[in-house]
């Protein structure tokens, strides 16, 4: 079972002003009594102290971490799949759908991660993010664009003061197979170039061979680079759940990343199949929910890869709503890593506005 909650510090309520058209401030039972803070508000020392409190000992050794991670409740795969399938049967219509579509757009990390990326491609991507639906100023903008580190400066320049953030993958993405100094240098470059957010990968080899301390230290080191910079960046930690293979591992990796100070935990690089799945995301949502209850720290979740349709996105939002709860219905705490999702959502948005089914010629291709 999970460690008990302890008193927490600062309460920083998420800024929801960007979510136009959303009213009500009712909270779920789970969220009423729990003070919450953003993980990025903590110093490295506080992160370590939180981790020590969670595992019940200052001993963050390999053995200490293993004891804790292997002491987490198991995940029954069939039951978890069934829960996700059940959430996927929710029928979201009319006003709820319109609301969910706009929320989805506001949560997209519009992504291009190709070897063939060019400054032109990145500018085009940013243009799409700035004006997702030409002629409709009520259409929200994606939360961020997500690019390789060497494209950060270009992206930074292009987003200007639009409020769109620049996220960069780093740490020898996507495999992570490089020495720590190389991974940190990769990160440092991206942060220095103006990245608001760093999407790092964990060392799956180390994780699968039981090297939990190595994975923990990597994350702590990358976090330090992100947070100690002149222009600090938030840290998303990619677990690459497709390589972790079991749901038990997904839960353990989620906790390990959160203990090490992740601001977000992210499913996938998009380069490994399977990428994001609904059950894996549900397990990660359970992990952030439980981490909040334990530490008072609210970590975000980002499924990435394979989410292509508005219909799929809404299933994720339903899961966010019913598993983690309303506080996560916020781009500060939930993102979609996607490239083609945006246009499908725009098509659905047009359908709701006009009543007629739309077609690909009526949305712009970046």
């Amino acid at each position: 079972m999970l460690p008990r909650a302890r008193p927490t510090r600062v309460v920083r309520m998420p800024d929801t002003s960007r979510l136009d058209g959303m009213t009500s401030t009712v909270t779920t039972p789970s969220s009423e009594s729990v003070p919450r803070s953003h993980p990025a508000d903590r110093t490295g020392a506080q992160v370590a102290a939180d981790a020590a409190a969670v595992i019940g000992s200052a001993d963050l050794s390999e053995a200490g971490l293993r004891r804790f991670l292997h002491g987490l409740p198991g995940v029954d795969r069939v039951g978890a799949d069934g829960r996700a399938a059940h959430l996927g049967t929710r029928s979201i219509k009319t006003t709820a759908k319109a609301w969910a579509l706009d929320l989805t757009i506001s949560m997209v990390d519009l992504t291009t991660l190709e070897g063939a990326d060019t400054p032109g491609k990145v500018r085009s991507l940013v243009a799409k993010a700035r004006t997702p639906e030409p002629g409709d100023p009520t259409c929200p903008r994606p939360a961020a664009v997500c690019v390789y580190g060497d494209m950060v400066a270009e992206a930074r320049d292009a987003v200007g003061n639009s409020g769109i953030r620049v996220a960069a993958v780093a740490t020898a993405f996507p495999s992570g197979r490089a020495g720590r100094q190389v991974r940190l240098a990769d990160t440092r470059d991206a942060v220095a170039a103006g990245a608001d957010e760093i999407d790092m990968v964990i060392d799956r080899g180390a994780f699968l061979s039981g090297g939990f301390r190595k994975v923990y230290d990597d994350i702590v080191a990358v976090r330090e680079v992100c947070h100690d910079a002149e222009h600090p960046a938030h840290l998303k930690v990619i677990l690459e759940t497709g390589e972790l293979a079991t749901y038990d591992n997904v839960r353990r990796a989620s906790w390990l990343a959160m203990l090490a100070g992740a601001d977000f935990i992210k499913t996938s690089t998009g380069k490994v199949s399977p990428a994001a799945t609904l059950p894996v995301t549900v397990i990660m949502l359970e992990a952030v929910r439980d981490f909040l209850a334990t530490t008072g720290v609210q970590v975000g979740v980002k499924p990435a890869g394979g989410i292509r349709t508005a219909k799929d996105a809404i299933k994720y939002l339903v899961s966010v709503n019913e598993v983690a709860g309303e506080p996560w219905l916020d781009p500060d705490y939930f993102r979609f890593g996607a490239s083609s999702l945006l246009n499908d959502v725009l098509l659905q948005r047009q359908k709701l506005a006009t009543g007629a089914y739309s077609g690909p010629d009526y949305v712009t291709i970046d």
Partner: protein
């Protein structure tokens, strides 16, 4: 010259009840006279009461988990051992059966032989029932799913009135082979082979309380067992030919606790010569189905 030795006076047996591995007299202190088919005095049998029945059910219930928990191989061996001991005491059973049922020695021998063979037949089923009556179920989903028979619990057996040994074995052995424990009401007029069988059971490896045997008036004892709330199943075979009672009335009594009732095949007690079947075993089993997800 020495005087001729006087004729030896035989040592007669006192027939008592068999409850929890012991041989108590009826708590009521009553006995009744048992005669041969020709009317000769054979013995005074204990005339069991409802309180004796209560004690027997208590003994059966406390023995049940242990007996059901023994391995099927072990139960098979224990029951086979009973057959071995029966074989060694054939002569006594032949004499008992011949006197009680009025059979010729030849036919009594046949009946005893059949009873021993029947015991062997049922003993061998102990570790096969689950394979024959159980199976995996290919459900449409990622689940392991298995059905297997398990013992019902405590079975009350109203033993056949006419066939005092073969009939008794034919209803007793199938009940206990899967792990049930039983309370037997022996043939009212021919109870002696049942008590002799009890002596075999007591000296075999059958744990105390697995088989409990009452003698007495069927119509007096059987309704209490049919109504007893801690009895799970009832074989009413011996209601046929018993005075003052019908199997339908016992079945109706048993309905109040949803007992499993094994009815007699016909309206009169038929020959037990061929009365061995898997269904006789399955009548006192419950199919348990266990599900478990299959996931990595």
């Amino acid at each position: 010259m020495r005087a001729p030795a006087p004729a030896r006076i035989d040592v007669r047996k006192t027939y008592k009840l068999f409850i929890g591995g012991a041989f108590p007299r009826s708590e009521s202190g009553r006995t009744y006279e048992v005669t041969s088919a020709k009317g000769a005095f054979l013995a005074n049998a204990a005339q069991g009461s409802r309180k004796d029945a209560r004690d027997a059910v208590r003994a059966a219930r406390s023995a049940q988990p242990g007996w059901a928990g023994a391995t099927a191989y072990n139960r098979g061996q224990v029951l086979y051992r009973v057959a071995e001991l029966l074989e060694g005491r054939r002569a006594q059973f032949v004499a008992d059966v011949a006197a009680g049922e009025g059979l010729t020695e030849r036919r009594a021998q046949d009946a005893v032989a059949a009873a021993i063979d029947r015991w062997v037949w049922y003993a061998g089923w102990s570790d096969k029932v689950a394979q024959v009556a159980g199976n995996a179920n290919p459900v449409a989903g990622p689940y392991f799913n298995l059905s297997a028979p398990e013992p019902t619990g405590v079975v009350a057996v109203i033993a056949p009135q006419a066939s005092s040994l073969l009939g008794l074995v034919s209803v007793l052995a199938p009940a206990i082979v899967t792990g049930n424990t039983v309370v037997v009401v022996a043939s009212e007029d021919r109870p002696l082979p049942a008590i002799s069988l009890a002596e075999v059971l007591a000296t075999s490896d059958v744990p105390a309380g697995v088989v409990n045997i009452l003698t007495g008036r069927t119509a007096e004892i059987a309704p209490h067992l049919a109504k007893h709330m801690d009895v799970n199943a009832l074989d009413v075979a011996g209601a046929l030919g018993a005075d003052g009672i019908t199997w339908g009335a016992l079945e109706a009594d048993a309905a109040d606790t949803v007992k499993r009732v094994l009815r007699p095949a016909g309206d009169d007690e038929a020959s037990w010569a061929d009365a061995q079947s898997l269904n006789a075993i399955l009548a006192y089993t419950e199919t348990k189905t266990v599900w478990h997800p299959k996931g990595m």
